[in-house]
Amino acid sequence: MLTLTEAAAAIRQHKLSSVEVTRALLARIERWQPILNAFVRVEVEEALAAAAAADAAIASGDVCGPLHGVPLAHKDMYYITGRLAECGSKIRSGWVAPATSTAIARIQDAGAVRLGALHMAEFAYGPTGHNEHLGPARNPWDPQRITGGSSSGSAASVAARLTYAALGSDTGGSIRLPAHFCGVTGFKPTYSRVSRANTMPLSFTLDTVGPLALSAEDCALIGSVIAGADPLDPTTRGVPAWDMAATQRTPKGMTIGVPRKFYVDGLESDVAALLDEALATFRGLGARVVEVDLPDQTAISAAALIVLAVEATSLHAPWLRERAGDYGAQVRNRLQNGLAYSAVEYLEALRWRGPALAAHLAAIDGIDVVIAPASSAAAPTIDETDVGGGPGAEAAIQAITRFMRPINYLGLPVLEIPAGQSRHGLPIGLQLIGRPFGDETAIALGRAFQTATSHHRRIPDFP
């Protein structure tokens, strides 16, 4: 099975047609979808028509970009003018987007073919892949287990090779957690590096847009297409241009930091062993590995929770007033939780973000990338994490997202890479956490790791 980069090259070089690869993926979707529930809409006729048009353009020597003719699908929160964007919800059921997301527009301009829209947690506010309205998405490695969320369909569909890559979003781990649980590569960019314009918001201070794909190289390719300033998203003003050459740097001379605390506490033995194994691989590739004392991540995590909760509740307040009964129980309860924080607490959490990042940068002085597990364990089962809106839900959610939240608060880039499998054959991933705007460096390390290992090439068997 080809990666995105390989498929794009094969189509460009006339070795494969866009129609051929689109048909192949549609056949896989037809087979896997009843098991995975990864798609919310499959656009068969439109995809084949777009693929045929892409082939015709190539035949006349008109290649419009690096994704020309490549079929992709994305989380159902990216707006396209005149198309549904239901955001995994009942409230936006039937909602037609009035504009096109900048990230999607750039992917379309690069020539991609659209396969359809992917499953997600309701309003991207859930870390497991459960959805009261759509039913849960299922993990291709074991359909009884969660995909992780909120980019549940993105991870499941990439892992099962139903699409070459998929956009997800990451506000509190929603790219990295599903990438970890489903064994794919996920890229959460630095906050503000990729425009969020006309993408469903959850928390405007923490939201990031990025891909899940089969390799670091594929993430670099998508990054090169979607990153950069956009007048529709003022946070992107002045961000550095994407440096593709920097994604191909060698690890020689790079320094990797391993936290002494928090991210290494309470790990299951197979996660700890794979972390050690990865460090040995990086040393073999010429990187220097050092221990690092990060500032207290529990305080940063609390600040992240406050910012996320208040901003999400603020965005949803009109519907909480009028249509609270149309939310799933867990999402409604979490949105209600955001009512508990005072304005002063919220603004203190926002104002502390700069000093907290300064403290982090002081701690990682001389370090290019910090490595950390994504979770203490591989994917749990759907049943054991089906906490709904019950009394233990908030604690359960916080446990799953423990290694995620501080990174969103600090706005750092992360490449999540498959690093091996648990004793039960389930994927386990690691986070390569870069410096602000050091996205390309994190990808370069992941890319080097994937030249030395084959974890990212494992494909789940059809059950």
Binding site: T190, Y191, S192, T205, T235, G238, P240, P295, D296, T298, A299, S301, A302, A303, L305, I306, A309, T313, A317, L320, R321, A324, N333, Q336, N337, L339, A340, Y341, S342, E345, L347, E348, A349, L350, R351, W352, R353, G354, P355, A356, L357, A358, A359, L361, A362, A363, G366, D368, P391, A393, E394, A395, G411, R435, P436, F437, G438, T441
Partner: protein
Amino acid sequence: LKLTVLATIIRIEFGCHMIDPTSGLAAPHLHQEEAVMPNEVTPERVAAIAAAARVPLEQTSAARVAKAVNPTVTRFAAQMIALPLEVEPATYAVVAGQGMITK
């Protein structure tokens, strides 16, 4: 404004305030105030904020919310954050811009 923000960061970094040089935390003597500051979320507080936001909330929900958020509020309060007057949310963007330089 840029100069003010940069000056603030420099003050944070070089410890010219009663603030930890890098973390923005208050000096230890401020802990004496802790005893008089409530840091536990009550259902009444949740109900009052919900009413102010015009979001209907049942009493049982207010109790559930209070219980759910208490660990977060308590942890954040324990951090005793006391930032210099000049630090604002946009300070983050300035620090992030400086942080892109690797070594």
